[in-house]
Amino acid sequence: MRRASELLKGVNSVASLPGIYLRLCDIINDPRSSAEDVGRVIADDPGLTARLLRLVNSALYGFPSKIETVTQAISIVGTAQLSDLALATSVIRVFADMPEDLVTMESFWRHSVACGVTARVIAGRRRESNVERFFVAGLLHDIGRPIIFMRAAAEEREALALCASHPMALFEAEQKVLGFDHSHVGAALLESWKLPVSLREAVACHHHPGRAQRFPVEASTVHVADLFANALGLGSSGERRVPPLAPQAWDALGLTTASIPGILEEAERQYHAAVQAVIGDAA
């Protein structure tokens, strides 16, 4: 039986993240660098600049006046936050040319964006300092799926058929057929991209948040956001039903059930803004 990381071999298109994100990380992690250095790196890439400005000017933020420059965006949104948004839009472009016979990439990204904004709203309710980190974690939670579609399409088709005939979530069917599921493949991909452990653990444990060792809040947030996104039926990455809830993940977030309708309504609003801004030109 294959291992999750073996699926990544030979997938040239996802072999590396656009260099720009890694350059951004280097600069942010360099104590001698300033926000202006970050601005210069982003401004070097006109496509990225345009996408970021579109995002920060979208209804996702609701700033009263138009943000015209990257420097302005950094001072308002924050350096770490803006580089997380840069990561989000870069990853979507890496996956622009995936096979679409099982799930269209548009539907896949719509579900991913729905999970991302829901995670962002939940993080906001919890007063997390960088809600964009949660947006990216949600956006990337199913990133192993397109790899499986590409490298193990026959097995995934079998898993989908299993779900259609049994009361089983798709990740459980993947486990049965492949011996691992998309969360393992996604985590292996993020590891090969050397992305932060908080993102990796949120992706790796989004169906089993209890297994998260270092970032249980990130994993629990994405777990709950995935459930909510599936319930709202905004896009799909193959799963057609609401996956099972790990009750301790909800408890870990410290939210009341009375807050759920407000979270869902805000997630719906942000979803429409983010779909436009994030996948407008990719999907």
Binding site: Y61, P167, G233, V242
Partner: protein, 129 residues
């Protein structure tokens, strides 16, 4: 199984302090609305728009005080859905929830919301039972 289908009918708040989830367009804050750092977001007496509500969400405002006289929404609310229409909405989304335990309060709340949305879609003007 406890369903929360009636909760989303948007009953007009009768109190002066209103949680942001319950704010309606056209309501007027009775005092200036500020963020946690005291920065002014919306002056008292402003008629609230969609944009203001998003800004409250964004800047962590959880509750504001509104003028009781300005609390009516500018447009008449759509007629509330009947129990039968809500039941049809619930039926339409039930299979989507086949894998989860609807006795859990989170799933019950989620199901109620999604069923209400489905009912709204089914009866949004042009379609009839």
């Amino acid at each position: 199984m406890k369903l929360h289908l009636e909760t989303y009918q948007g009953e007009a708040p009768s109190t002066i302090a209103v949680r942001i989830e319950e704010l309606q367009l056209g309501m007027m804050p009775s005092v200036d609305v500020t963020d946690q750092n005291g920065r002014l977001l919306v002056p008292a007496g402003t008629s609230l728009t969609e944009r203001h509500l998003r800004a409250f969400e964004m800047w962590g405002v959880t509750e504001i005080r509104v003028q009781a006289s300005g609390s009516e929404p500018p447009e008449p609310a759509p007629a509330p859905l009947t129990p039968e229409q809500l039941a049809h909405g619930a039926e339409a989304v039930r299979s989507q929830f086949a894998l989860v335990n609807l006795d859990h309060p989170v799933l019950a709340e989620l199901f109620g919301f999604v069923a209400f949305r489905a009912a709204q879609r089914l009866w949004s003007g042009r379609r009839h039972a």
